[in-house]
């Protein structure tokens, strides 16, 4: 499906910020493999909790937080520039 009304806000290769015509705020494109990795990290963190491995769980959560923050910063940067 090709929608010419989708506006690309950022120029980055990953975490591209786009504006969909029917939405008020832009969104962030997450590549499928990256999304799967984020999900895998959540599962891993949960597994560490179940195993009582708090230290590893904390490491995994920090890793996950940093990756998510990357997307968030990319979004903030793009929307700030577009204002």
């Amino acid at each position: 499906m090709n929608d010419p009304c989708i506006t690309r806000i950022s120029t980055t290769t990953n975490a591209t910020v786009v504006q969909l015509p029917e939405r008020r705020y832009p969104g962030v494109v997450i590549q499928g493999d990256s999304l799967q990795n984020l999900h895998a990290l959540v599962l891993d963190a949960r597994k560490q909790i179940d195993c009582g491995n708090v230290a590893e769980c904390r490491d995994v959560l920090e890793e996950l937080e940093e990756l998510l923050r990357g997307y968030l910063e990319s979004y903030r940067e793009a929307t700030k520039l577009s204002e």
């Binding site: 493999d33 990256s34 990795n37 560490q48 990319s74």
Partner: protein, 310 residues
């Protein structure tokens, strides 16, 4: 009975001695060839026993049998060619001289025997390859050397740090190493440490799915330092890397632990674009996935090699 032939016919004693000599030649040649076949089998067996005994078992037996039979036939034929005297299948001299036509047949026997030896060796090698395939197909690119055949080392994960998730589906777009059709845009922070100098436009480090020597060395150094397998996956392993392609990695058997992945992000080669997004530096050019390697998808494995002193 032809009197002339009787005159040339050797005595029992001469025939006995010739037979002994021929047997000696046959046995020496056969034993030598069988030993070679056995050596090849010996190479195949350790891998076979560990990984795929059923698959390789047949290959080993076939290899030993083919090598032994080929060696014996070759020995018989070679000794008769050398002396011109006929020797039966038991290796005993009959006392009759071979005709030129028969000598030609013996020469053919040598060829057939050689083919049997080759078949034995081939079977042994097939056994080894079959075992390797059963253990998990490996791309024979940068790591396609004898190092790939070294015993696997287990990634020093913390206990229970990895789940047993199923490998990524090859037809699933969420599988690692997805291509990005976007035009080239220099990313912020592209000069940060870790960027491969050879990975310029055109995918210098992986346009053909083969890593550059520099990248190989860096990955090898990482594998040695942290005693872990490093799997290069995605476009760099597929041979479809472009100027904006990132480097996709999986550590160990199932992705390694968090600290190891963090080390990888800082020390392994990376591309000029794509990859994970760093909160302050933007695109990192590197993805380190927390999942097992899918053996059905292209990947290049680099294993620790402490013998090389790197």
């Amino acid at each position: 009975m032809n009197p002339a032939k009787n005159a040339d016919e050797p005595t029992f004693g001469q025939g006995f001695v010739t037979g002994l000599w021929n047997n000696g030649v046959s046995i020496v040649v056969a034993v030598g060839v069988v030993a070679a076949g056995a050596a090849l089998v010996a190479v195949a067996v350790p891998v076979a026993v560990v990984t795929a005994p059923v698959v390789v078992g047949g290959g080993v037996v076939a290899a030993a049998g083919a090598a032994a039979y080929g060696g014996y036939q070759t020995g018989l034929a070679a000794s008769q060619l050398a002396t011109g005297a006929e020797v039966n299948q038991l290796g005993v001299a009959t006392g009759r001289q071979l005709t030129p036509a028969e000598l030609g047949e013996k020469a053919a026997d040598v060829t057939v025997g050689g083919a049997m030896i080759g078949a034995g060796a081939a079977s042994a090698l097939r056994g080894r390859w079959a075992a390797q395939a059963a253990a998990g197909a490996e791309a024979q690119g940068a790591a396609g050397t004898w190092r790939s055949w070294l015993p696997r080392r287990k990634t020093p994960n913390k206990p229970g740090s990895q789940g047993n998730r199923a490998p990524a589906n090859p037809s699933d777009p969420t599988s690692y190493g997805g291509e990005n059709p976007d035009p080239w845009t220099p990313p912020p922070g592209s000069s940060q440490p870790g960027v491969s100098p050879g990975a310029g436009p055109g995918g210098g480090a992986g346009a053909k799915g083969v890593l550059s020597k520099e990248d190989q060395l860096r990955i090898q150094r990482f594998a040695n330092t942290y005693d872990t397998d490093v799997h290069v996956v995605g476009s760099r392993a597929k041979g479809t890397a472009g100027p904006k392609s990132d480097y996709d990695y999986i550590l160990g058997e199932s992705g390694g632990n968090s600290r190891l992945r963090q080390k990888a992000r800082g020390e392994l080669p990376r591309g000029n674009a794509g990859g994970e997004i760093h909160p302050t530096r933007g695109e990192t050019g590197i993805d380190v996935f927390n999942e097992p390697v899918d053996p059905s998808r292209p990947h290049i494995t680099i294993r620790p090699n402490h013998l090389g002193g790197q």
